[in-house]
């Protein structure tokens, strides 16, 4: 990991030099293939996210056990649903997840003395990661959560880089992806597919709004939930039928050049960190 951090420092120095007026001397960064995959969340991105989360939970449980505490893992092994890469299994159970009290996520509230300190560490020893487009995240550097992230990625700030830099890139590309003519054509295909299933919506946002509206239309809760599931499943199946996963993958790559040089450099580093984190996660899960 030391090599990666050195790279990060060099990148920042280069960026600082560019800001000081030396932009003409800066070399535009080329995205590595892994960074490009990460920017567009190419498969198996969602499954890898689940693997990383599972490994982190395992490490946290072990860390807490070593300190004398029982830590309950509550992961569900499910991917984060995405309008373009839907989790169909989840949608058949929960729809979009719009029902009240969904999901019961946060476990028992009473914890034994010292538990919180063991898990989240010293409140006065926190670090902040600042991304080039402005977001700043502050997080613990001690305690079992931080130790787990550090064991997975080598360093707690590198863990934050691996988590947030790819999100910065994806959000940066999102408007271009949405506005691309190929995406708009796919939305029309999706809409025709939905109409064929009895749901007349021009966009996924409309479908979601209709499902949410059912809960406010004084329908019985169970009826609204069944409606939400029907719409969400049809939406997901039509997203796949319209070819969204592959399309977003291709269109996103077309627009990746819009990322700034600094974002490309940061994403290359994040992709390396993530690859190392994934190797470590597999070792943890398979041992």
């Amino acid at each position: 990991m030391a090599r990666l951090r050195s790279t990060g420092i060099a990148v920042t120095v280069a960026a600082a030099a560019a800001m000081a007026g030396c932009a003409a001397e800066a070399q535009p960064a080329t995205l590595s293939p892994a960074a490009l995959d990460l920017a567009v969340r190419s498969a198996p991105y969602q499954q890898e996210q689940v693997l990383l989360a599972r490994a982190e939970r395992t490490l946290t449980r072990e860390c807490m056990a070593a300190k004398g505490y029982s830590y309950t893992e509550t992961g569900t092994g499910t991917v984060l649903d995405d309008p373009w890469r839907p989790d169909l299994e989840g949608r058949r159970l929960r729809g979009y997840g719009l029902a009240k009290g969904d999901p019961p996520v946060n476990g028992p509230k009473k914890t034994p003395p010292g538990y919180l300190r063991a898990l989240t560490g010293d409140e006065n020893r926190r670090a902040t990661l600042s991304l080039s487009s402005g977001p700043r995240f502050t997080f613990a550097t001690t305690g079992c959560l931080a130790e787990s992230r550090a064991r997975l990625y080598g360093d707690v700030t590198d863990a934050a880089r691996a988590a947030y830099v790819p999100q910065e890139a994806y959000n940066a590309l999102l408007p271009s992806i949405v506005g691309d003519p190929q995406t708009r054509e796919a939305v029309q295909r999706w809409s025709r597919c939905m109409r064929g299933r009895g749901h007349s919506y021009a966009s996924a946002s409309e479908a979601r709004a209709a499902a949410a509206g059912a809960y406010r239309a004084e329908r019985p809760g169970a009826e609204a939930h069944r409606f939400e599931i029907r719409v969400a499943v049809a939406d997901g199946e039509c997203a796949l039928a319209a070819g969204f996963p592959g399309l977003i993958d291709r269109v996103g790559r077309l627009h990746a050049g819009r990322l700034t040089a600094r974002q490309r450099e940061d994403l290359n580093t994040a992709a390396e960190l993530r690859a190392a984190g994934l190797r470590q996660a597999r070792r943890i899960i398979e041992r």
Binding site: G8, I9, T12, V13, A16, Q49, L52, A53, E56, R57, E73, T74, G75, T76, G77, T78, L80, D81, Y96, G97, L98, K100, G101, D102, P103, P104, V105, N106, G107, T111, L119, T120, N124, R125, R126, A127, T128, L129, S130, S133, G134, P135, R136, F137, T138, F139, T141, L145, T157, A160, Q167, N171, L173, L174, P175, S205, R208, A209, A211, A212
Partner: protein, 148 residues
């Protein structure tokens, strides 16, 4: 929508940035005047907490579950458009016990999003660039949780 709501009175606090950043983009953070309001959101409380203003100041709100439209949360911004917490939050803190918090700029978990890891906070969404818009200040409109 289910939520619990904290004090609604506006609080005036000195704006003190949390720590200074060094060139590598990471630095230790130091306690500041903003900590007092930040601590309205207790460690591992199981909540996603948010504030009307940056540096954890102003009206405080929090959610325990997923919420598809923050217009239906109590409190928040008292604007004539009735937005309540939708397009209102300027700082945020995830103290969920087991899951990462996901915030979206559109209702019903749509649009651009950020997954904010557990035990992580963001003091100033006005500084978060948002492609296609200006920044993430007063943009969050829904949240859910991802437990992995």
């Amino acid at each position: 929508m289910r939520t619990t709501q904290g004090p609604k009175t506006l609080r005036r606090v000195g704006v003190v940035l949390v720590g200074a950043l060094v060139s590598v983009g990471a630095a230790m953070a130091f306690p500041s005047a903003a900590q007092a309001d930040r601590n309205q959101c207790r460690d591992e409380s199981g909540l996603l907490c948010f504030w009307q203003h940056r540096n954890f100041s102003g009206v405080f709100g929090h959610v325990e579950f997923s919420n598809g439209d923050w217009r239906y949360l109590d409190g928040g911004c008292q604007e004539p458009d009735g937005r309540h917490w939708s397009n209102c939050a300027s700082s945020i803190r995830n103290e969920g016990r087991n899951c990462e918090a996901v915030v979206y700029d559109l209702p019903n978990y749509a649009g651009a999003s950020w997954v904010i890891n557990r035990d992580t906070e963001a003091a100033d969404l006005t500084q978060w660039g948002m492609p296609g818009s200006d920044n993430w200040n007063d943009k969050i409109s829904s949240n859910n949780w991802w437990c992995g």
